[in-house]
């Protein structure tokens, strides 16, 4: 992305089920010299977190939240911790990034919410990516037994798979299929320290631009091209509902006031079904985009970018939904915003060079 570099500290949220190897992976990554100036925030169930001691041996600065599980009471604890960090100028100068390792039993949404609140924290830190680690040995059982497993995957920008190749482990392709049934847009890769380090460094890994690059047609959008609808691919079906993804694309700027009214009502009525919304939207024709980023009910405070991340300069919103009809979401959006120039694109998975079939043009 061109323009002024964002001065805020990037925050990577590392999620994953108990025993998936988050700490082992993070400790290995922190051995790398390019991750030296990383502040790790560990949320651990026990008062004396084992994870904290393991990480402390790496010599990195560590802040321990030992006061319970993130999914119930540690939300406030994490928020306070982030606030203390945001107000500690000396500490901020000593680090280049923050990694929050969530509890294995936690839904990562509260950590996202702690970052999303406008104010001193969001003025000094920004979400970089949510990475979820999946255990290839136990993913199948966890998927069936624990609701947190799905919550962690739904929130993920990137999924890493650990313990591949061990006896009893599922192959990567099988884990990928499982993940795509829960989160059709997050890339899935084998977990290793270099991959995690690359994610930490890769700018834009939490953005929807890579998703849109896979889904949207190559080349610039045609202005006033009318109302094209791209039907989503075959929806993935699991026991907990019909999860699918799609992308709304806009030729024109979107009225922010209408968007906020529509989005707030959608989240109020259908928040539990709107698993993720990510995208770039120009609120004024020709202006640089605003980043929209939602995890279920929680909306990150909107932020504008200095410039578009690519030459396409197209506004879009990527949705992951459960039990919602993409066509109806588009109709509703158009009714609230009165914008005729939206198109819908979608696909079951962000496979390289894959573009969904255009189903209808009107």
């Amino acid at each position: 992305m061109s323009g002024v570099r964002d001065p805020r500290l990037p925050v990577l949220i590392l999620s994953g089920f108990l025993g998936s190897g988050k700490t082992t992976l993070l400790r290995a990554a922190l051995q790398r010299s390019d991750l030296r100036r990383t502040l790790v925030i560990v949320n651990e169930v026990a008062d004396q977190g084992v994870d904290d001691r393991l990480l402390a041996t790496s010599g990195e600065p560590v802040r321990l939240l030992g006061n319970g599980c993130l999914c119930c009471s540690a939300d406030d604890g994490l928020g306070r911790s982030l606030l203390r960090i945001a107000e500690d100028e000396a500490l901020l100068r000593s680090v280049d990034r923050i990694v929050i390792e969530t509890s294995g039993l936690a839904d990562p949404a509260p950590a996202f919410a702690a970052l999303a609140r406008a104010g001193r924290v969001s003025a000094r830190m920004r979400l970089h990516a949510i990475v979820t680690l999946v255990d290839a040995m136990h993913a199948g059982a966890q998927a069936g037994e624990s609701p947190e497993f799905a919550l962690q995957l739904q929130a993920a920008d990137q999924v890493l798979v650990s313990k591949l190749g061990l006896p009893g482990a599922a192959p990567l392709a099988a884990v990928r299929e499982l993940v795509e049934g829960i989160n059709p847009v997050a890339p899935v890769a084998a977990a290793d320290a270099a991959t995690l380090a690359a994610l930490v460094h890769r700018e834009g890994s939490s953005r929807a631009d890579r998703i849109a690059a896979d889904w949207l047609p190559a080349g610039p959008a045609q202005a006033n091209a009318g109302h094209r609808i791209r039907l989503p691919g075959t929806p993935s079906r699991r026991h907990d509902g019909d999860v699918r993804s799609f992308c709304l694309e806009f030729d024109q700027g979107v009225d922010w006031n209408a968007l906020s009214v529509w989005l707030s009502l959608m989240l109020h009525v259908h928040g539990n079904r709107l698993l993720r919304i990510k995208g770039f939207v120009a609120v004024e024709q020709g202006s640089a985009p605003v980043v929209i980023h939602c995890v279920r009910h929680v909306v990150h405070f909107p932020e504008h970018l200095a410039d578009w991340p690519d030459e396409r300069r197209t506004s879009y919103l990527v949705f992951i939904v459960r039990d919602l009809e993409p066509e109806q979401v588009l109709r509703s959006f158009l009714a609230f915003t009165g914008r005729p120039g939206a198109r819908m694109a979608g696909g079951p998975a962000p496979a390289p060079h894959h573009h969904p079939t255009e189903a209808a043009t009107a």
Partner: protein, 109 residues
């Protein structure tokens, strides 16, 4: 930080940012009060689908009024919707065909 300079009220909520704020000043054609008026107009139109009304209150809160005249004052956009449900006695589903079609009809000149 652009997000903090264009807030309407004292609630630092995502929905409280004006388009001038979220666009970093690029959306410079309308002042925040004018934008506020446009947003309230849309809210009132949606509330009308349930027989309710929404009005601005001092540029920082919203007055939600049911058909009986009962009112609630809320200070964040997302709080308009539960107040509306309480006063109108029914939710407004943005995905329902009836809501979509009536909004389209109201947008016709």
């Amino acid at each position: 930080m652009c997000g903090l300079c264009g807030l309407w009220g004292n609630v630092a909520h995502w929905s409280s940012a004006s388009s001038r704020a979220v666009s970093g000043g690029a959306a410079g054609g309308l002042n925040p009060l004018r934008e506020r008026a446009l947003q309230v107009r849309l809210l009132d139109r949606v509330a009308g689908l349930a027989g309710a009304q929404v009005e601005d209150w001092a540029g920082s809160s919203w007055i939600v009024r049911g058909a009986s005249g009962a009112t609630e004052i809320v200070d964040a956009l997302p709080l308009v919707w539960p107040a509306l449900e309480r006063l109108a006695g029914k939710p407004i589903d943005p995905l329902s065909d009836a809501v979509i079609e009536r909004l389209w009809q109201r947008q016709q000149p």
